[in-house]
Assembly symmetry: none
Homo-oligomer: 225 residues x 4
């Protein structure tokens, strides 16, 4: 039996795994579908039926894996935050000059919002519901601390090298970096109408990113922005 077991070891990989992987895969498909649906229609506007359909899963499975619609939203939201924070940590800004690190971070933030527009509406939804779904999530606080530390380190290095001015609050800087990208993109629809300008035209996007980089560099007092 031990020989068979050893033999089965490899073979089982292709039999047992699918079994466990099926569950994980279903869960993942539901999560992805939910992220999209919540992003498209908000928490209230999202339809559980549609999520199930989009996930190519049974509606019952959603309740089995996530409990209910709100809990599913909570999971989606936390995962969205973890995703962006994880990507930020992977930027490897330490070997860049403070100025370049900051530019890279502004550009990354902008591009992340561009590539993952669902993040924007998820956050909006979370705030429409007064942040209720983020409460009691230690994970979120952990990754956020790392993020603030990341910006704080760049700022400190800039001050030490004499290229940034002193006394800038890393949290306020963080918020502003996010704000100038977030606002433009989340309000791209009303913005395009109000300002009679195609917000999502490639040239316009490029222009805005440059404007944002300049805004941040001037803010931290980097010479020759």
């Amino acid at each position: 039996m031990s020989a068979a077991g050893a033999n089965k070891g490899r073979q089982d990989m292709s039999k047992a795994k699918p079994k466990t992987r099926d569950a994980d895969a279903t869960r993942a498909r539901i999560l992805a579908a939910a992220k999209q649906e919540f992003a498209d229609y908000g928490l209230g506007g999202a339809r559980v039926d549609v999520i199930a359909e989009r996930a190519n899963a049974n509606k019952r499975m959603i309740y089995h894996y996530f409990g209910n619609k709100e809990a599913l939203f909570r999971t989606v939201l936390v995962s969205a935050y973890v995703d962006i924070r994880t990507a930020e940590q992977a930027l490897e800004l330490d070997h860049l000059s403070p100025r370049e690190a900051l530019m890279k971070l502004v550009a990354f933030t902008w591009n992340y919002y561009l590539d993952n527009p669902e993040f924007l509406t998820l956050v909006n939804s979370a705030n429409l519901h007064k942040g209720r779904h983020l409460q009691d999530s230690d994970e979120i606080i952990q990754v956020s601390r790392q993020y603030v530390g990341l910006v704080g380190k760049i700022l400190q290095r800039g001050v030490d090298e004499g290229v940034f001015r002193e006394g800038i609050d890393p949290v306020q800087l963080n918020i502003t970096i996010a704000a100038i990208g977030y606002y433009y993109l989340t309000n791209r629809f009303t913005g395009s109408i109000l300002f009679e300008r195609e917000f999502m035209a490639p040239d316009r996007l490029k222009e805005r990113l440059e404007f944002n980089i300049e805004t941040i560099l001037r803010l931290v007092g980097a010479e020759n922005p």
Copy 2:
């Protein structure tokens, strides 16, 4: 028309006017209630019954005056934009120095968001629905043009006086002025959790406004920000 109006004036006072005035009052109450409800729960989350209740009106009246829920939202949204743009036009910035005019505008924008938080969620809702409710609204475009002109004029005066740098796009500046206040306030719930900081504490609000003013002044290149 003015003669007719004068003629009708007295007669209407006793019979028709009260009637029309009641009608106007009902309409206004519904509009105010709807603005609040849409702001609190979004377009999808808002309840027609609740709006009727909040307006101390009959549900049927909503349909009588506004057609349906979406049309009501459209009206609320346009009125919200008209309100803020009207307030901006009333600022009388012309007699201030460009630098002070800009500071005043940044502060006004911030305080308007603070005092009218429903504006933020209404705009968010409008964008969740891809700006659909703002289309075909000439009124909106008119007032927006005036706004851009207002900022453009300040900018031009600053350049002429040599206190602002050249080449700044008034629209981009507009957007950034809005963004740095809007983002902080609309995301105050998730922000307070993520950054472990009470976003709405009076000191924090004051701090943010100062940070924003500095951001804009440095952006336009005003010396001694």
Copy 3:
């Protein structure tokens, strides 16, 4: 207009009333349908859709008039108790001899259960749910007190006249009068199988009533039962 009004007075009876009566009638139809459905299938087994259908009403109306399924059950239950207690009060037992009054009460109880079998299952359901739906109903306690008083009075008269023995607790007697009819009828299905006897055959019913009357008369000590 006053003439017309006077004229309309009677005519309106046939126009205006239906309006108000419609609401009341709908409510009443729902209540009757619910009583039947709850009696047939219990609280858990009853279907709101079916109640609406049986009431020839819209499902939405049930929620409009009664709030939810449990509240509807509560209303049904209270009304069922009020109905039987009201019928008992209408018996006019005072002018009968104590012995005949008691016999009449036993027979009435039996026949009421026979004619209103839904009462039995409603009470069973209420107890399956631990009486939760009867709590906080002052009405129920009021009518029950009257009922106990009614039996107490008969008992007292019997004692005074020397035909009943002393010291019988009216509540215990009440319970026993109910029990010997209730048990036979509510368990008629299992009873018919267990005892291989058609519990609902007319002769059997008559036989049981006589047995019950004898049980009660012997219990109170009436001579020559």
Copy 4:
């Protein structure tokens, strides 16, 4: 078989027996859990998941051993009847006087209901479903016949000894003995509210049992009840 059993004994202990014993144990655990769940919530209100959980068994096992929910209920119900009838047969009433035998039977019935309240709700559920689950159960009819015979024998002995009156139908007596205990206990929740009296207080229980014994003794005509 005993030899085989002895032979198998050791070997089975380690391999086969646990398996079969496990199967029986699982079946028994499911049955016990089901009895409790059905008693607590009725047939419609009982949840298959909960039964599986309560039985510390897999849900699939329920279907394997019992077919489906209704069949499980049927099994539970029959077993409940067999249990009470078996306990009654073990009473050894023959060596008691008819009067004492009857008293003991009334007390036993009462105490059995008290100790096994699930029996009451199971029977109620069975009747809510029109006794359907008891049909075609020969076992039930057999044990019931024995029960009627048991009461009939006491009655006959009493008549023979001149302490009971003639002509009492044992079935009717049976029903009444059950009724006066059953009704009080199954309706203890509504009863406690209606009669403003704590039905389950120890003194109240004792009082009711004495009342019931007196009721039955007077009914059969035993002198000096």
